[in-house]
Amino acid sequence: MKQNKSFLKKIELPRTPAEWLEAVMNFLFFLCGMLAVGCVILISVYMIASGMPAIRKIGLFRFLFGTEWASTAADPKYGILPFILSSVYGTLGATLIGVPVGLLTAVFLSKAAGPRVRTVVVTAIELLSGIPSVVFGLLGMQVLVPAVAKAFGKASGACLLSAIVVLAIMILPSIVSVSVTALNAVPPEYEQGSLALGATDTETWFKISVPAAKSGIAAGIVLGIGRAIGEAMAVMMVAGNSPNMPDSLFRSVTFLTTAIAKEMSYASGLQKQALFSIALVLFVFIMGINVVLNVILKGGDRDAR
């Protein structure tokens, strides 16, 4: 009994039921938090462990810079440069279209739109972000792909260009919503100061508001890039999925994501291992994008101070 008491005192166990409840809840929160961290660690370890063997067997250079992917041939080739370049070009292209459209939409919503129009557009953009990627793919397949084929006189419209257009639409909500938040946070004093010097509204938005919100806007763009590079389903439905080098907008191409998705169901042996290696490459890309995002956000904080 005596011993027990001193033990209790040392680690300060809760005494009342309320304190007990508090302690249990705290532990529960901690556990949930750790769950997410644990998952990230587990995934990272698993990706590296399962992605490395194929790279070691094939050779890092031949794997990353090989221009031919023929995983089921008698003499299999595992070069993923076509996938890397397709993913990079596809993402870049989507960014090139999505950023100007998204930024102008954000400026419109944050500064120019009347309350009624704003509500309508914001709702539309929220819905856009909620549409499943398979639906984007379906529409792309049924509407965009034939349209591209017809417009450019090609046999098939399933190509890099179609993927770029679908991705551009898919990344719009990320760019718009993060940019609107950033633009709304620009102190009105800046804008008033600009107007009081004789600037027009447009001059004020683009010379003062957008530069002042640049770190938030950049974060939105990076978020969009992350979404584009990680998208598999919609891309698979419109990009054609041949392992070609993306040397033309009208080439049927395979992205990093779709390379994994289309072969995983029947892959085995080295082929399967190589797919894990592709996933590892994709993983590294996403991690890199997240690092960039964090740097931008931290830089933004410093600017604000």
Partner: protein, 253 residues
């Protein structure tokens, strides 16, 4: 002593929605004088100030009636662009609001808007404006540094310099020293007395000592009405209206 008016307001009425914020204001602002607008919070003095460069146009639901002229030109006329009016009638705000860019870019922002591109000309404008705002000696070695690194008083003088850079005819100041410490306030007040040589200044102030110290004319606003306007010495020594006397003697407000 009497200077010709540069701004004349006649029967100016202003509503924010259903609320009538200015009631039949008629007053003149003399050229190269400091005119102080005083009165308790919500009396309409800031509203009147912001009408002079049409910054009130930005407030949703605002309605203005009456006549305001700048050198005889109707400021509400169709051919008077608000941008041109605001270049001619500059404004300094209560809270210093330098743009989040370098000191140099803050000053050149206005001139660039109005078409000055020549580097030498811009350099010269920066120096002249900063000297005009008594800030040159403090910042001449760090023109390319962020304006946000300046002290509050320096930031406010930078905003004055920024307003001067577009070579306005009138400078409106909305409680420019209310957020500053006494030392910085003194500097800005000295600066205003110098600005009077070349500019017309209209200042809104809560601080009656400040109005008495620096202004040539004083106008007392109460509940949207202009109660009394006249030479500062007269307003503070022998006010004509009982309400003015009550306010300046500190009986309310």
């Amino acid at each position: 002593m009497e200077n010709a008016p540069i701004i004349t307001a006649q029967n100016l009425n202003l509503w924010y929605g259903d609320f009538k914020a200015l009631k039949n204001i008629s007053m003149d602002v003399g050229e190269r004088e400091i005119t102080a607008l005083i009165g308790p919070s919500g009396c309409g003095k800031s509203t009147f100030l912001k009408t002079l460069n049409r910054m009130n146009d930005l407030v949703p639901g605002v309605r203005i009636e009456g006549d305001v002229r700048l050198r005889g030109q109707d400021i509400f006329a169709r051919e008077m662009q608000p941008t041109e009016l605001r270049r001619r009638v500059g404004m300094v705000f209560q809270k210093a609001n330098p743009f989040p860019m370098s000191i140099y870019d803050n000053i050149t922002y206005g001139p660039k808007l109005h078409g000055v591109r020549n580097k030498a000309e811009l350099d010269e404008l920066v120096e002249r404006s900063l000297r005009g705002a008594a800030l040159w000696n403090e910042v001449k070695d760090r023109l390319k540094k962020s304006a946000l690194g300046l002290s509050g008083g320096q930031q406010q003088r930078l905003c004055i310099a920024r307003a001067l850079a577009v070579q306005p005819e009138v400078l409106l100041m909305d409680e420019p020293t209310s957020a500053l410490d006494p030392g910085s306030t003194m500097k800005v007040e000295e600066l205003m007395s110098e600005l009077k040589e070349n500019y017309t200044v209209v200042i809104v102030t809560h601080n009656m000592q400040q109005a008495a110290r620096i202004s040539d004319k004083t106008a007392f606003f109460l509940l949207g009405e202009l109660v009394e306007a006249g030479p500062t010495a007269q307003i503070f020594s022998t006010p004509q209206d009982k309400r003015t006397e009550d306010y300046i003697s500190g009986r309310f407000g």
